[in-house]
Amino acid sequence: MEDLIKVLIVDDDVNICETLQDILIEKGGYMVTVAHSGVEAISLAKEYVQDMIFLDMRLPVMSGLEIYLAIREFDAKVPVIIMTAYQFELKHCVDEALLKGAQACIHKPVDAEAVFKVLEEAGKNRGEHA
C-alpha cells in the first residue's frame, strides 16, 4: 500500500480524468483520485497527501492558478504538473505557476505516454526528495 503512488488528477472534463485514471490503474502501482473542480481538488489534496497532482489550468469558477496557489498554501512540496490546452493564451499563468514551483507543464490533450514520462521523472525526483 505504501508503495502506491498517490495521484490526483484535476480536470473538469470527466472523460479525460477517467481515461487517465483507468490507464494508471491498469498500469498498476498507482492510487488515483480525480477532482472536477477547484473546491473538490483543494479538499481532496488537504485530506490525502498526494504524491503528484495533475492540474488543468482552465477550470471554471476557480482558475488553475488560484487552485495551485491554494494548494501550495498547505502543501509546499507536492509536485504539481499543470496541463495546458492553449499554447500562447494563459501562458502568463503557466509561467507564473512554474515560477511559483509548479513542476512542469504538459500540453493538452494529455496523452498517456506523456503522463508516464512525467511520472518517471517525478519518481526519480521523489526518490531524491524523500
Partner: protein, 991 residues
C-alpha cells in the same frame, strides 16, 4: 235680370219710394200744416162763434134773469088773489117785451107748480111741470136746446130762470128767444170756404142748426173743430172738407211727382251706368266669368280683386276656395296636361273591353290615329285578330284586377312590335257603402252603378323598347367595362371618402399579392403606404375629396411581400347625381421600371454632362440655322481663354478663328463647308487654325459630329490643340506609367490585405475548431492506449488491427489539426540563430518514413547559422518530407540538400514521386489546395507563410511522374527580434 237692371230697378224703386215717401212726408207735413192751419182757423172761428153764442145766451139769460127778478114777474107768482093783477101786470110786461124785442118769440111765466100763469103764446094754466124747461130751471138758469117752437114753428131757444121769492123757488120765468141770432152766428161760414160747415148740436147729438153749405160733405173726410158751449152743453161744430182744404197742396204735389217720376229713371240709369256696372256688376260679372273658367277645370284662374268691399272679399274668398279646391281636387287643366304630356301610353278601356280614350303618347308611339283606336276592342293592340285573351293578364285586368309591370308587346299600326310595361287598374263606382245585392243598393237604383262596379279600366303602358335597347347596351357596356377593368394592365382602384378600399382590379391583385376579398374595407393608407408617406398623401387625399383639382402624383406602395414599387397616379372624384362625393377613382401606372430607366437616363445624362463638363477635350455644340455655339464645356473655355461659357457661347466658329485659314480660304466660308459636310455625312474631321480670345493663334484638329438631343439635330464639335497634344501626351504617358505602377502596387497590397484578412478570419476559426478538436482526440487516444493495455497479449488479430487503425487515424487527425494550428499560428516567430542541419535532422527523426524510401541529406560545409524560428522551420521541413513521402507510395528517394550563396541558405527537398501537374504549380502554396484525399491542403501554405515571415522564398519545380523539388531560400540575417506577420512588406522586393 241683370244686376244693373236690378240696381237700376232698385234704385228706381228706392228713388221712387223715397220720392213718394218724401212727397208724402212733405204732403203730410204740409197737410198737417194745412190741417193745423185749418183747424186753427176753424178753431178760432168756432171759438169765437161759440163764445159769441155763449155771450148771446148769457145775454138772454141775463134778460130773463132780470125779468125774473123784476117785480112784474115776481109778483106774478104770488099765490094769493091779488095775484091776478100781478099776473096781468106780468102779462102786460110780457106783451111789452114781445113788442119791443123782435127776437123774442115767447115769454112765459110758470108758478112753482109749473102752471103757466102768464105767457105770450102758451095757454094759461097749462101744466108744464113735467116740461124739461120747468123742471131744469127749478135748479137754476136753464137754457134749453134750440128747437122748433110748437106754436110758431120757428127755431127758438128757451131760456128759463127761477123766480125766487124770499129766496125760495116760486116760479120760473122763461123766454123763447128766436134762434135766428144764434143761427146767424152759428151758420156764418165766412172764411170756411165753400165746403165749410158749421152746425150746432145739442148734448145728445141732435143737430139744432146747420149751415149745410155743401151737401155731400159727410161723404168725404173733413176737418172739424168742436167747441162746447156752456152751460147748455151744446157743441158747435165747424168743419171743412179735407180735400178742399188740401187743394193748395195738390198741384205742387203733382208737380213733384211728375219730376220724380221723370228724374228717377234717369238717375237710376246714371247710377246703373256709372256705379252698378263698374262697382257691382263688373266685379260680379268677373266673378261669374271666373266661375265659368274655374268650373271648366282651370283651378289656377284668379278672380280676386283688391276691392275693400264685400264683392272684393267675395272674390278673394273665391280664390281661396279655388286654392283649397286645388289642393283637394285636381284641376282639369292639370289632369289634361298630365295626360297629354305624359310620355307613357294611357288607355282607358270600358268594362266591355272597348277603348274609350287614348292619350297623345298612345297615338305617337303606336302610329295609330285616334279614330283607329277609339271604340275598338283593346285586343287590336295586343294580338292577332280572333285570338283569345283568356288566361292572360289582360283578361284579369279587364276583369277588374290590378296589374303591375306586365311586359307585353303592343302592335303598332305598321305591324311592328312595341314592347311595353303595362300597369292598369279599374276605376270602380263609389258612393254607397251598403252590403248586399245590386237591387238593394240605392245608388244602383239611381245611377245604374252598383258599388264597386267597374266603371273604367285605366291602363298606363310604358314603352320599354328604348329601355330594352338601353338595357342591352348597358349590359354590353357593363361587360365591356368589366372586361376592361379585369384585363387592364393598369391599376384601377376605388377608395371611399375615408380612404378605405372599395375595390380594385385583378391587375392590382397580381401586382401586390393582396386579394380584393382580404383588402375590401381596409384603410389604403395603413396598408399600402410607408409610414413617412402616410401623412402627406392622406392630406392630399382629403384635398381631393374637397374637390380640389389634382395633378398626377407619384408615390411608392408596399406590396404584400414587402417590396416597394413606384406608381404614378391619376385621381378622379366619383360623385353621385346630386354632386356629393362617393369615392375616389385612382388609376395607377407602375413606373418602377420607368423610374429606373428614368433614373438611368438621368444618370446617363448626368454622366454625359459630367463627361462634357469634365472632359479634357474642348467640346462644344453648334445649332442650326446660324451654327453658332450653343454650349461649351470648361475645357473649351480654358482652351480658348474665354472668361466663361457665356462669353464663348453664341459666337460662331469663324469668330474664334483668324480671318483666313491656311490655304487662303476665308474661315467663315470654310467653316460653313465643314459644317455642311458634317450634317450630310454625319461627321467631319479636319485640321483648323483657331484663335483664342487673347488673340493667340493655334493649330487644332476639329471633329464635328451630328447628334440628336431631344429631337433637335445639333453638331458637336471637339477641338484639340495639337501643339499641346504631344507635350501633354508625353506627360500623360509618364503620368500613366507612374499611375499604373502605383495602381498595381495598391492593388497587390489590397489583394494581400484582403487575402490576409480572409486568411486571418479563417485561421482564427480553424484554430479554435482545431483546438477544441484536440481535446476529444486526446481522450480517444488515451482510450486506445487503455484498451491496448487492458487487452494486451490476449488481443486477437482483428482487434489488434482495429486498434491500430484507430491509433493511425487518430494520428492523422492530430496531424491535420496540427497543420491547421501551425497554419494559423504563424503570427509570432521567435528568431534565434539555429543550425539548419540540426533542424533537418530533427525533422527527419520526427517522421516515420516508409522503408522503401531512401533518405539522403547533403549539407554543405560551413553552413552559417541563420536567425530563424527553429520550431516553425522544422515544421516546414516536416511538411515537405511528409509530402515527399506521400508522393512516393511505392518507394523512392528523398534527398535534402543545403547550400549557401552567401546571401541565402538554400534548402532543396526533392523526391522521385509522382510530381505535380503544371497547372497546379502556381496554386499549390494557396491554402486549402490539396491533391491528397486525406489532406486539407494547409501544409504548403503554412510552409510558404513561415518562409515568407523569414523573408525567405519557397519555390517548387516538378515534373509529372519524375519528381518534385521544393527550394527554400532563407536570408542569412543574424538579426534578432520578432518579425512582422504576413507578407505585407515582401511585395516590393518581389517586384
Amino acid at each position: 235680370m241683370k244686376v244693373a237692371h236690378k240696381m237700376m230697378t232698385s234704385f228706381f224703386l228706392t228713388a221712387t219710394f223715397v220720392a213718394i215717401l218724401g212727397v208724402s212726408v212733405v204732403f203730410h207735413v204740409e197737410q198737417g200744416t194745412l190741417k193745423t192751419m185749418t183747424m186753427n182757423h176753424l178753431s178760432t172761428t168756432v171759438q169765437s162763434r161759440g163764445s159769441h153764442i155763449e155771450t148771446v145766451v148769457d145775454g138772454y139769460e141775463d134778460q130773463v134773469a132780470t125779468l125774473a127778478r123784476g117785480s112784474a114777474f115776481r109778483g106774478s107768482v104770488y099765490t094769493d088773489n091779488e095775484n091776478a093783477r100781478t099776473i096781468e101786470r106780468a102779462g102786460r110786461k110780457i106783451e111789452a117785451i114781445i113788442k119791443d124785442n123782435a127776437g123774442i118769440v115767447d115769454v112765459s111765466i110758470w108758478n112753482k107748480d109749473g102752471i103757466v100763469i102768464a105767457s105770450s103764446c102758451k095757454e094759461k094754466g097749462s101744466n108744464e111741470s113735467s116740461d124739461e124747461v120747468f123742471r131744469k130751471s127749478r135748479e137754476g138758469a136753464y137754457a134749453g136746446d134750440i128747437h122748433s117752437s110748437a106754436i110758431t114753428g120757428d127755431n127758438v131757444l128757451s131760456i128759463a130762470v127761477p123766480i125766487l121769492l124770499k129766496g125760495e123757488f116760486a116760479g120760473v120765468a122763461g123766454i123763447d128767444f128766436s134762434a135766428d141770432e144764434i143761427y146767424e152766428i152759428a151758420t156764418n161760414t165766412t172764411g170756411l170756404g165753400t165746403t165749410g160747415e158749421i152746425s150746432l148740436v145739442n148734448r145728445n147729438g141732435y143737430m139744432m142748426l146747420c149751415s149745410r153749405a155743401y151737401k155731400d160733405y159727410k161723404k168725404g173726410e173733413a176737418f172739424e173743430v168742436r167747441v162746447l158751449i156752456q152751460p147748455m152743453e151744446w157743441v158747435l161744430v165747424a168743419g171743412i172738407s179735407k180735400r178742399v182744404a188740401l187743394v193748395p197742396l195738390v198741384w205742387p204735389l203733382k208737380l213733384i211727382m211728375f219730376f220724380v217720376v221723370l228724374a228717377a229713371p234717369i238717375l237710376s240709369g246714371l247710377i246703373g251706368i256709372f256705379i252698378s256696372v263698374p262697382v257691382i256688376a263688373g266685379p260680379l260679372l268677373a266673378l261669374r266669368k271666373g266661375t265659368a273658367i274655374i268650373g271648366s277645370g282651370n283651378l289656377d284662374y284668379k278672380v280676386g280683386t283688391d276691392a275693400k268691399d264685400e264683392i272684393g272679399e267675395l272674390s278673394r274668398a273665391f280664390d281661396n276656395m279655388t286654392e283649397d279646391l286645388k289642393k283637394v281636387l285636381v284641376s282639369r287643366n292639370y289632369v289634361d296636361s298630365i295626360v297629354s304630356n305624359m310620355a307613357d301610353i294611357l288607355i282607358v278601356i270600358k268594362p266591355d273591353g272597348k277603348i274609350e280614350k287614348v292619350n297623345k303618347a298612345a297615338i305617337d308611339n303606336l302610329g295609330y290615329e285616334e279614330k283607329d283606336l277609339i271604340g275598338k276592342d283593346i285586343r287590336i293592340l295586343i294580338q292577332e285578330e280572333g285570338a283569345s285573351l283568356s288566361g292572360t293578364k289582360f283578361e284579369k285586368l279587364i276583369g277588374g284586377s290590378t296589374v303591375r309591370d306586365y311586359e307585353v308587346d303592343f302592335k303598332a299600326k305598321d305591324g311592328s312590335k312595341v314592347p311595353v310595361l303595362l300597369s292598369g287598374a279599374a276605376i270602380r263606382a263609389t258612393g254607397c257603402s251598403h252590403i248586399g245585392s245590386a237591387e238593394e243598393c240605392q245608388l244602383y237604383q239611381d245611377k245604374g252603378n252598383h258599388c264597386e262596379d267597374i266603371l273604367r279600366i285605366v291602363c298606363v303602358a310604358k314603352d320599354i323598347g328604348e329601355q330594352k335597347k338601353i338595357e342591352n347596351e348597358l349590359r354590353k357596356e357593363k361587360s365591356f367595362i368589366q372586361n376592361l377593368v379585369d384585363t387592364a394592365q393598369v391599376i384601377i382602384l376605388v377608395l371611399d371618402k375615408d380612404g378605405s378600399i372599395i375595390r380594385f382590379n385583378p391587375y392590382f391583385e397580381d401586382l401586390t399579392g393582396y386579394s380584393l376579398d382580404e383588402m375590401r374595407g381596409k384603410s389604403w393608407f395603413e396598408t399600402f403606404l410607408e409610414e413617412q408617406d402616410r401623412g402627406f398623401i392622406h392630406s392630399s387625399f382629403l384635398q381631393e375629396i374637397e374637390g380640389e383639382e389634382t395633378k398626377a402624383s407619384v408615390y411608392p406602395i408596399v406590396l404584400k411581400n414587402g417590396k416597394k414599387i413606384y406608381i404614378e397616379w391619376q385621381d378622379k372624384r366619383l360623385t353621385d347625381d346630386d354632386g356629393s362625393m362617393v369615392g375616389l377613382l385612382a388609376v395607377g401606372q407602375d413606373i418602377t421600371v420607368r423610374r429606373q430607366s428614368e433614373k438611368a437616363v438621368a444618370e446617363s445624362e448626368q454622366k454625359y454632362r459630367a463627361l462634357f463638363d469634365l472632359s479634357r477635350d474642348a467640346i462644344m455644340t453648334l445649332a442650326p440655322p446660324s451654327w453658332r455655339f450653343t454650349s461649351a464645356n470648361l475645357s473649351t473655355v480654358k482652351l480658348f481663354k474665354a472668361r466663361n461659357e457665356a462669353e464663348f457661347v453664341s459666337k460662331g466658329p469663324w469668330e474664334v478663328s483668324p480671318k483666313l485659314q491656311p490655304g487662303g480660304e476665308e474661315s467663315a466660308i470654310k467653316a460653313k463647308r465643314m459644317i455642311e459636310k458634317a450634317m450630310q455625312e454625319g461627321k467631319s474631321f479636319f485640321e483648323w487654325t483657331h484663335m483664342k480670345f487673347n488673340g493667340e493663334v493655334f493649330p487644332a484638329t476639329v471633329l464635328l459630329s451630328k447628334i440628336e438631343i431631344a429631337g433637335q439635330t445639333l453638331l458637336q464639335g471637339t477641338v484639340r490643340d495639337i501643339a499641346e497634344r504631344e507635350k501633354a501626351k508625353k506627360k500623360l504617358q509618364d503620368k500613366i506609367q507612374e499611375l499604373s505602377k502605383t495602381t498595381e502596387d495598391l492593388r497587390n497590397t489590397q489583394e494581400r490585405l484582403s487575402r490576409s484578412e480572409k486568411l486571418a478570419i479563417i485561421g482564427k476559426l480553424a484554430g479554435i475548431v482545431s483546438h477544441e478538436l484536440r481535446n476529444p482526440l486526446g481522450v480517444i487516444k488515451n482510450v486506445v492506449y487503455f484498451l491496448n493495455m487492458r487487452l494486451g497479449k490476449e488481443m486477437d488479430e482483428k482487434v489488434k488491427k482495429h486498434l491500430n487503425i484507430l491509433r493511425e487515424e487518430i494520428n492523422i487527425a492530430d496531424k491535420i489539426i496540427t497543420n491547421i494550428l501551425d497554419f494559423v499560428s504563424h503570427s509570432k516567430l521567435s528568431r534565434e540563430d539555429a543550425d539548419i542541419g540540426d533542424i533537418i535532422k530533427k525533422a527527419i527523426d520526427d517522421t516515420v518514413l516508409q522503408e522503401n524510401i531512401a533518405v539522403q541529406v547533403d549539407l554543405d560545409k560551413d553552413l552559417p547559422k541563420v536567425a530563424m524560428d527553429a520550431l516553425q522551420v522544422r515544421q516546414v521541413l516536416l511538411n515537405l518530407i511528409v509530402n515527399a513521402a506521400q508522393a512516393m507510395p511505392d518507394g523512392g528517394a528523398l534527398k535534402i540538400a543545403v547550400t549557401t550563396d552567401g546571401e541565402f541558405i538554400i534548402v532543396d527537398v526533392s523526391d522521385t514521386g509522382c510530381g505535380i501537374e503544371k497547372q497546379h504549380l502556381d496554386t499549390i502554396f494557396e491554402p486549402l489546395f490539396s491533391t491528397k484525399a486525406k489532406g486539407i491542403g494547409l501544409g504548403l501554405s503554412t510552409c510558404s507563410t513561415v518562409i515568407d515571415a523569414h523573408n525567405g522564398e519557397i519555390e517548387v519545380e516538378s515534373e509529372v511522374n519524375k519528381g518534385t523539388t521544393f527550394v527554400i531560400k532563407l536570408p542569412i540575417q543574424k538579426t534578432k527580434g520578432v518579425l512582422k506577420h504576413g507578407r505585407s512588406d515582401k511585395s516590393i522586393d518581389r517586384g
